[in-house]
Subunit: 217 residues, 2 copies
DNA sequence: TTTTTATTGGTAATTATTTAACAAACTGAT
DNA sequence: ATCAGTTTGTTAAATAATTACCAATAAAAA
């Protein structure tokens, strides 16, 4: 355990999953080795950036050879912590919550969905993929009992902060937040936001801009 | 029409929706003016950054006064192109597609959902919020007829590129992509990705890191 | 074995982004 | 009207991120 320099920029970290995804595809295709140049061509990055990024975590390549695809894939899985399991619950079992419950990507990243909660009595009792929707009042007890450390917030923005407070009150470690608001949490709690409305507005901006550029031609 | 300098960085653009969101909240609270310093305190940005960002688009403030909240909100809405309407279709009407169809955020950003498509015959014919799910073979005709310029891809990764090809073949302008893959499109087509798996892996990384840091204490 | 070729890891240069600083200019009080 | 207090827009400085470069070294060829 030597390399624990916590000062790796988010820019680098957000590229890791993409590396991982493409490395998996290469493994599937049976590619055993790859140079940073070729890998960069595939990803649309410079070779330099790839080498720089990977070197934040260790020297995984070899001169004159490149990188061993399978080995690098496993290294990155390890860096991302995909081999560790984290138990999660979804709070807010409406359309989005149910869609997330059906999301097949949990497998691949070590998260296990253990429960779902909602305030709406009509939803309580329904099961989604063998996960029963429970009343939100049972949440605290469940978190303790089932060793939950991740909360996925799929409520409307109005309820989100209160849910976050309850989750952090139970010493949850991280929140995956789909509610269109910024959460106020203790500094040792990790929040990863998925703000669909912001993504959509960026799309609107780019379309609008493109259109203006056309007009000015 | 003077200010059309297209060289505004994505870093700035991705902050605009957040400005817009908080300005809306301030309007609702009845706040009429705000200084960059106070606004920065609320958003967690520096006052400098806010002034710098806004000045990419124009001088909306006034010395000794600050910014008029409502006015600035409307300016940003205009910059983001939220007043223009864009007709959209969803391709892939599974859980995620249906959840997106129910998504209420379209309103606020000028997008109008006009149709949904799927290859699964069991889904074709069903309606979600008055939007009928159609067979994907009807898509091309529908795009022309209903003046669609945005495609929302909610298929598994396997079908995504083919859907993208069909969409761009019909001269669609932009794609909101939820499939866990990178799409290859003509350069004049805008793609905005929502890669949930990548977001989740970043969360995994941050949790893993935090844990390692704890251990080293 | 020797030579040529490929390719890394690391350092330096460049470019981009963020933050600081401050003159100019407005507000609001006296 | 004048003046003190604010706060902007803008330029300069600092910091961060990306790209270019190259010596070192391994692989492959001769």
């Amino acid at each position: 355990m030597e390399r624990m320099r916590s000062s790796i920029s988010m820019a680098v970290i957000r590229r890791l999953p993409k590396y991982y995804r493409y490395l998996n595809e290469l493994v599937e295709k049976g590619v055993t080795r790859i140079s940073s140049m070729e890998f960069g061509r595939i990803l649309g990055f410079t070779a330099s950036q790839i080498r720089q990024d990977l070197n934040c975590f260790g020297g995984f390549g070899q001169q004159g050879y490149g990188y061993n695809v399978k080995e690098l894939r496993d290294e990155i899985a390890n860096i991302l912590g995909l081999n560790k399991t984290n138990n999660a619950i979804i709070v807010g079992a409406g359309n989005l919550g149910q869609a997330i419950a059906n999301y097949s990507g949990f497998r691949g990243s070590g998260f296990i969905l253990k429960g779902m909660f909602d305030i709406n009595p009509r939803l309580v009792g329904i099961s989604i993929r063998d996960i029963k929707i429970m009343d939100i009042d049972e949440m605290s007890e469940f978190i303790k009992k089932a060793d939950i450390n991740v909360g996925i917030i799929c409520t409307p923005k109005e309820g989100a902060q209160e849910v976050a407070d309850r989750l952090t009150g139970e010493r949850i470690k991280a929140i995956w937040n789909f509610a269109p608001t910024d959460l106020d949490v203790p500094e040792d709690v990790i929040v990863e936001n998925v703000h669909l409305s912001e993504s959509l507005m960026v799309l609107a901006y780019l379309m609008n801009q493109r259109e203006n550029a056309e007009d000015n031609k």
